[in-house]
């Protein structure tokens, strides 16, 4: 094990002073000093985001652009999503797969005029960059954006809050992405996020970030939310955390991410890891990511063994904790395919006890995405 980096070696986001001024409890996370919570605490922040609007600094995430005529086609060699067919102004979720179909990282890919804009996980950003440099042809220009801040504004009031500052966001629907101007500077805004709520992610130059964050915080609906609540929000939403729920030892099919692999790509099989993806689709998976609901009050954390009534191993918890919305423990994990049906009774081995639990559908809390065009007809 490498020793943890010294605190003074941690990278600071452009909003570091704002976090500290707002009572942020700063912790090391993927080489960054990040707020795990503010003075309200994780539960209050979580509930605020579900009720109103939460502002997250997620500047630790890696941002980069791929430029060049050939960028979409070239990227398709490394991700199983349809990128050639991704129109300008739309975003897609995908994964970088290794040759064995394991998930190197998961990412968001947006098509903007003249380029693709990627957001990757902080812990994998350097490896992703190396992976892209290794595999993409020379005519695709790889442009990292370490100077840019990434903010997320999430929650049922996010739409009206952002529309007051950036009016053109009012017409956006889920997974739309636009370039807009804030304080005369170019920003990239997507209508997406990592909470299950309606909301936005806003990529902006560092020099205008603090002022913009303060402008958002002037709205009484908006409060800062730390990484602690970000984790409980995404877990309620059944959303995967790379390094826990997905990783090089998981393929996207057993992870329940087949929806993110469009038909053309499945048929063509022309991406790294395609052989495994196709065989998993064809022959069926041996294990599957599922929702797990403990019957009692005790949370089951990551790596908790999942067993059947005879104590035989079925798999393990990949993420587990407490749901502030349900006021109960929740978890996700992998179980043998025969035990993945909702309603299946399982047991969780916590501190030497076998605690009863049930396989349940995901998400735990329904997604609130703005699927329909807010100016158009309801679906």
């Amino acid at each position: 094990m490498e020793p943890p980096p010294k605190p003074d070696a941690l990278k600071l986001t452009r909003l570091d002073a704002l976090h500290r001024a707002c009572g942020g409890r700063m912790v090391p996370f993927a080489g960054w000093s990040m707020p795990v919570q503010y003075t309200g605490g994780i539960i209050a922040e979580h509930l605020h985001c579900r009720a109103k609007a939460g502002l997250f600094d997620v500047s630790h995430m890696g941002q980069l652009s791929l430029a060049g005529e050939n960028a979409g086609q070239a990227l398709e060699a490394l991700v199983p999503a349809d990128i050639i067919g991704l129109p300008i102004g739309r975003q897609r979720y995908s994964q970088f797969l290794n040759a064995e179909g394991g998930i190197i990282d998961d990412l968001m890919i947006s098509r903007l005029p003249g380029r693709l804009f990627l957001v990757v996980n902080a812990a994998n950003a350097a490896a992703d960059l190396a992976h892209l440099r290794q595999h993409l042809p020379a005519d695709v220009e790889i442009v990292p954006h370490p100077e840019r801040v990434l903010l997320a504004l999430q929650g049922p009031l996010a739409g009206e809050v952002l529309a007051r500052l950036v009016p053109e966001t009012a017409a956006m629907k889920f997974m739309d992405v636009i370039e807009a101007q804030i304080s005369g500077q170019q920003v990239v805004i997507s209508r997406s996020g990592y909470t299950g709520e309606d909301g936005f992610e806003i990529s902006l130059p560092g020099e205008i970030a603090e002022q913009f964050a303060e402008d958002l915080l002037k709205d009484p609906a908006v409060e800062l939310i730390g990484l602690g609540a970000r984790d409980t929000l995404r877990l309620e939403g059944g959303l995967c955390l790379h390094g826990q729920d997905i990783g090089p030892a998981h393929n996207p099919i057993e992870a329940g991410l087949a929806w993110s692999i469009q038909k053309r790509r499945r048929l063509a099989g022309d991406f790294l890891g395609a052989e495994k993806v196709r065989s998993e689709l064809l022959a069926g998976v041996s294990r599957r990511r599922v929702g797990i609901k403990p019957e009692g009050r005790a949370p089951a954390r990551a790596h908790t063994p999942i067993v059947n009534e005879h104590g035989e191993n079925l798999g393990e918890i990949s993420s587990g904790g407490f749901s502030p919305t349900l006021n109960a423990p929740i978890a996700m994990g992998y179980v043998q395919a025969g035990f993945a049906a909702p309603g299946t009774k399982v047991f969780l081995q916590v501190r030497g006890q076998n605690l009863p639990a049930q396989v349940v559908p995901l998400p735990f809390v329904p997604h609130q995405y703005r699927i329909s065009d807010p100016n158009g007809a309801q679906p």
């Binding site: 919570q37 994780i42 539960i43 949370p299 407490f322 502030p324 423990p329 501190r351």
Partner: protein, 125 residues
Amino acid sequence: MSQTFYSRDHEWVRIEDDIATVGITAHAAEALGDLVFVELPEVGRDVVAGETVAVVESVKAASDVFAPVPGIVMQTNVALADDPSLGNSEPEAGGWLFKLRMDGEADFSELMDAAGYQAFLGETA
């Protein structure tokens, strides 16, 4: 007449005659954050000093609670089990965890008084 001691594991223990009431300190509760689950010992269990007797879990993590002195578990805080947030709102009062009946002369030499604990927090901060 009661005396309160503190452990290096951020527990407090209040001694009244042969009864020791144990909880986590305000510092520990603040560091753990929102408590969501407390696992308390069986009444009647005989515990030695340093043994894991209870578990407190916050949103983020689980943390063991050790017996600061030996004894037999006499009572557990049912109100805390029902509402773990008591452990945040009044960690050194209504948020107590369990009471032990001590047998004979307990040894408090490994524990600190309030001033000692404050100094200890200052050193480890």
